[in-house]
Point group: C2
Chain length 145, copies 2
DNA sequence: AAAGATTGACTAATCAATCTTG
DNA sequence: CAAGATTGATTAGTCAATCTTT
């Protein structure tokens, strides 16, 4: 199971590296960035359910995450007109700016790692392989509860 | 920064999938397995420092992790003869059995994903690329504090 | 002073129970 | 009853302060 260990180690190291860079520049944290990106990508259709699914956390965790983002003025909840059980989440103007700025920093770190090395062209193939494995793992990968 | 997102998503999905399989068989959790593997790999020379380094968590978190493992009878702390500031960590006999059993399950999940698909031979290259990127990221990847 | 580890206050995750709406 | 979400109790992480040993 060397492959899995290597995968975890790289993900952890890269995550920590990006997190440090963001902190050193006084930006939002990487976990917050990931959450804001989910809301952004879903346009006006983000619910707590999408946070849970896309981040791979439980519904309970996603609900509390939305609470914190709302408390910090990063998202707004408005009633879902199609289903009164849920709310629709959207980024505040300020959050969208912070999101974009942090994304630039994160991209910089990743690109510096991935580009202009001898391994430069590996990355296309690498990304493809990762996405194929992800597809293979498929819908089996939901979080319980 | 698609590459990083894909990496995170695969790692998360695979982690959750393995975790569910372990839980369904009544084994130790994946985080515990990872910790026991670190102690195992370091032979008699594991300290709290190694847990922190290899798992990518802070020293404080590693210290508390060692507390829990010790409390649950999975590791023993004995005084480090060479340096009285630290203890040496070793697996209990029971922990080594649980570690091996859980590793088999984890390997099964990963191998089923990775082998005998059309992507079978990708994985060698994939692992290599991941390890090269990890090396490139290098020692920069320590956790602060 | 620096290195290794521990501890307390805080933050964020899980799980289970519960509430509301479909 | 299902699905979506919230909440309370518990668990595990971070950070900062501290203690001991080098």
């Amino acid at each position: 199971m060397d492959f899995f260990d290597d995968l975890v180690r790289l993900e952890t190291s890269l995550w920590n590296t990006i997190e440090r860079r963001l902190a050193s520049e006084g930006r939002i944290g990487l976990a917050t960035l990931q959450a804001l990106q989910v809301v952004h990508r879903h346009g006006g259709d983000a619910r707590v359910h999408e946070l849970s699914h896309d981040l791979g956390i439980t519904i309970g965790a996603a609900s509390k995450l939305a609470d914190r983002l709302e408390r910090d003025g990063l998202i707004a909840r408005r009633p879902n007109p199609d289903d009164r059980r849920s709310s629709l989440l959207s980024l505040t103007a300020r959050a969208d700016i912070l999101r974009r700025e942090a994304a630039v920093v994160s991209d910089e770190v990743v690109n510096r790692l991935v580009e202009d090395g001898e391994d430069g062209e590996d990355v296309g193939a690498l990304s493809g392989a990762i996405r194929r494995l992800q597809a293979r793992l498929g819908e089996v990968a939901e979080v319980r509860s």
